[in-house]
């Protein structure tokens, strides 16, 4: 008994001593949460977000902290993995808000995590900016949730218009992943937009597959047979190369057009020459970028060894938006609830924010009004600016 007591006391004392090393009075630190899919289905997206965030933090640290209302504050990133699962994203958001006291959250990227996570952020009145989620319900009726990109209902018609104007086609085919929220939503919007333009039945083949499928031969055979002139496939970078090469092998000769989910450097790396000459809509075009955009791309490539995906660029913009909003808020009171509200108000007020993916002004819903870019994959395998479409 005595032995235990002595041991306990000893342990206690050592603990006190050691922790005094780590001891620092509670000062106001600006914490920004990053909710990213580091594991799970799309780890590459998580990696891009993480890298962009680390680059941003580097900048802040170089400047010796973030200056708000004439005072420099230390900034800390809280990076949480959401495992690409909805409930994990909810947990991560709850943890960051209630435990880590973050001032704002950037992420989650995919809509299937951003929609439920947004609910949490809104409930706790914390600003959340999803850089990449294009599902309208992410921000719908949620004053505290913003996004850094355009929405599906905007992108679909942009692509439909582009194809009509560029090629003059009237018959289109769509191939999409029925089990994944983003491709499915965009496929529906595109179909609607195309049929509004060319009459019902002008989408001659509307085929789907399921996440993780790698064989699209029966769908593509159907599409080839349907007599479509163009194939629209709003898929991710890991599926696009397979779709493109299988289509070619099954006798498809028309153009294949994609959406912003193509905008990863890996698309062309994995796809190779098969993808040269294809078009997709995106948030920004890496090749031939100028100014701040180019600076970002070059720096990212230098640090991490590859050209940043659109996710990285959007995350960068989202973080800078958050930074701007915090600075605009004027001063930090140290009372987290108050500061969060101030940041939210400041963010909603931001006009013509000059992001590397375009100029942004938020609507009432917290969606940015920004332009879409049509990108062409040129014969060096670079993403080339081809045109843009603004709302």
């Amino acid at each position: 008994m005595r032995k235990i007591a002595v041991l306990t006391m000893l342990a206690f004392c050592t603990a006190m001593m050691f922790s005094s090393l780590a001891f620092s009075a509670r000062k106001t630190i600006i914490k920004i949460g990053i909710n990213a899919p580091l594991t799970g289905d799309i780890p590459k997206v998580g990696e891009g977000s993480k890298y962009a965030a680390q680059m941003w933090l580097e900048d802040i640290e170089k400047a010796g902290g973030l200056e708000v209302g004439g005072k420099k504050y230390e900034v800390e990133l809280v990076i949480e993995d959401n495992e690409s699962k909805a409930e994990s994203a909810v947990k991560a958001n709850t943890k960051m808000i209630t435990q880590d006291d973050v001032l704002a959250i950037v992420g989650p990227q995919s809509s299937k995590q951003a929609v439920p996570a947004g609910e949490v952020a809104n409930k706790y009145k914390t600003v959340m900016i999803s850089p990449w989620s294009t599902n309208p319900s992410t921000t719908l009726d949620r004053p505290y949730v913003f996004r850094g990109c355009f929405l599906d209902p905007f992108q679909g018609p942009v692509v439909a218009n582009f194809i009509t104007e560029e090629f003059g086609f009237t018959k289109a085919a769509v191939l999409y992943d029925v089990a994944s929220d983003y491709p499915k939503g965009l496929a529906e919007v595109f179909k609607q937009a195309w049929e509004d333009k060319h009459g019902p039945g002008s989408v001659v083949a509307y085929e789907s597959f399921t996440t993780k499928d790698t064989d699209f031969s029966s769908q593509l055979t159907k599409i080839v047979k349907s007599g479509a002139e163009v194939l629209f496939t709003p898929q991710y970078y890991n599926e696009v190369p397979l779709i493109v090469s299988q289509a070619k092998n099954l006798g498809w000769t028309g153009p294949i057009v994609g959406s912003d989910s193509w905008g990863s450097a890996e698309t062309v790396e994995l796809c190779g020459e098969d993808c040269y000459g294809l078009f997709f809509s995106s948030h920004y075009a890496a090749a031939g970028a100028k100014g701040a955009t180019k600076a970002f791309i070059d720096r990212y490539e230098k640090t991490y060894g590859y050209i940043p995906d659109d996710v990285a660029a959007l995350t960068w913009d989202a973080l800078r938006l958050a930074q701007q909003a915090i600075q605009d808020a004027g001063k930090l009171t140290g009372k987290i609830e108050k500061d969060r509200e101030a940041v939210r108000d400041a963010l909603a007020q931001i006009k013509d924010f000059d992001g590397i993916t375009g100029k942004m002004t938020f609507t009432e819903e917290g969606d940015p009004i920004k332009c879409a870019v049509i990108v062409r994959i040129n014969h060096q395998g670079e993403y080339e600016f081809y045109g843009s479409s603004c709302p």
Binding site: T39, D41, P43, K44, G46, E47, V178, E207, S208, F209, T210, K212, T214, D215, S217, S218, Q219, T221, K222, K225, Y237, N238, E239, P241, L242, S245, K248, N249, L250, G251, E266, E269, L270, G272
Partner: protein
């Protein structure tokens, strides 16, 4: 006459598609089925063994192509890749057996299944940690040539996949029928206890079975890399579960059954998507399986025996 030929072509084209898809299911589920037959285990790690095999194949192919490209004809490189990969991958199989399943030989089968599942997750994560989140592209081991025969498109890769898969199955069949090891495996799938009597230790047969299964899976992985050249650490998960379905559908320990069920799965998937709206593919495909099993509760070649989980 025109439309008739056209629809005939359409069907033929889809048969070729289904044959390619079915080949993968067949080869992978045979590996699954062998373990299942011999040890009565669900080897839930099989999908991930396939994944690891594919990555090994990727590594070997990359190295060989970098060193010998241009010096040696492509078929030689291809063959060398297959042989080396098979050899290395079979050690993965042995490792899984020794580390994960051997300590559990007396345990309930479900526990062993969970161990397999966990080994699979460890493989996935290890690959993710080692190689990062980047997807890899399997280098083509031959130039794709696309033949257009009377309205049907077939590439040399496709033809090769179908042929090599068939050859593999025949070779395996010969191995099982003719060699001492194969016979021991067959004996074991009849009776767990008979084999020690024959003078062959289960501690040799079990790893051998895993090795053969892993070897097959790795060849399937190389072929898979030719057909669908994008590798990611989670690529084996769904395939593994589908192989599980095919192996058991085929009947316990029946190589023939597993191969048949594999092809059947390929055909169901392709043709359901062809005939019905493809959004309903999974719904209809799995309903068909459910109905088959309701009316043929022992699979195709399943033996009359009542197996319960040895709890």
């Amino acid at each position: 006459m025109e439309p008739l030929i056209e629809s005939l072509n359409y069907i033929l084209q889809n048969i070729i598609n289904a044959l390619q898809r079915g080949s993968f299911y067949a080869v992978i589920s045979i590996g699954y089925s062998m373990v299942y037959g011999v040890l009565m285990l669900f080897n839930f790690a099989h999908g991930d063994i396939f994944m690891v095999g594919t990555y090994i194949g990727f590594g070997i192919a990359t190295v060989l192509l970098a060193t010998f490209s241009g010096l040696v004809p492509p078929p030689v490189i291809f063959l060398a890749t297959v042989v080396i990969t098979m050899f290395l991958a079979s050690w993965i199989g042995v490792f899984v057996e020794v580390a994960g399943y051997r300590p559990l030989r007396q345990a309930p089968r479900a526990s062993a299944a969970i161990t397999g599942l966990m080994i699979g997750i460890i493989f996935e994560t290890t690959i993710l940690i080692m190689l990062g989140a980047k997807r890899l592209s399997f280098p083509p081991l031959m130039d794709t040539v696309n033949y257009h025969i009377g309205g049907i498109y077939i590439t040399n890769v496709k033809a090769m996949i179908i042929i090599i898969s068939l050859l593999l199955m025949l070779a395996l069949h010969a191995f099982i029928q003719k060699t001492k090891w194969g016979m021991a495996m067959r004996a074991m799938s009849y009776d767990f206890l008979a084999v020690p009597l024959m003078g062959v230790s289960i501690n040799i047969i079990a790893p051998l079975t895993f090795a053969v299964g892993a070897g097959l899976a790795s060849v399937a992985g190389i072929l898979y890399g030719q057909a669908y050249p994008i590798l990611d650490p989670y690529m084996g998960v769904l395939l593994g579960w589908k192989a599980f379905v095919a192996a058991i559908l085929g009947g316990r320990g029946s190589i023939k059954g597993a191969a048949l069920a594999g092809y059947l799965l390929g055909f169901i998937e392709i043709f359901v998507a062809t005939v019905f709206p493809s959004t309903l593919r999974d719904f209809i495909a799995y309903s068909i399986i459910l109905v088959i099993l309701t009316f043929r509760p022992r699979g195709f070649f399943g033996m009359e025996h009542s197996t319960k989980l040895r709890l």
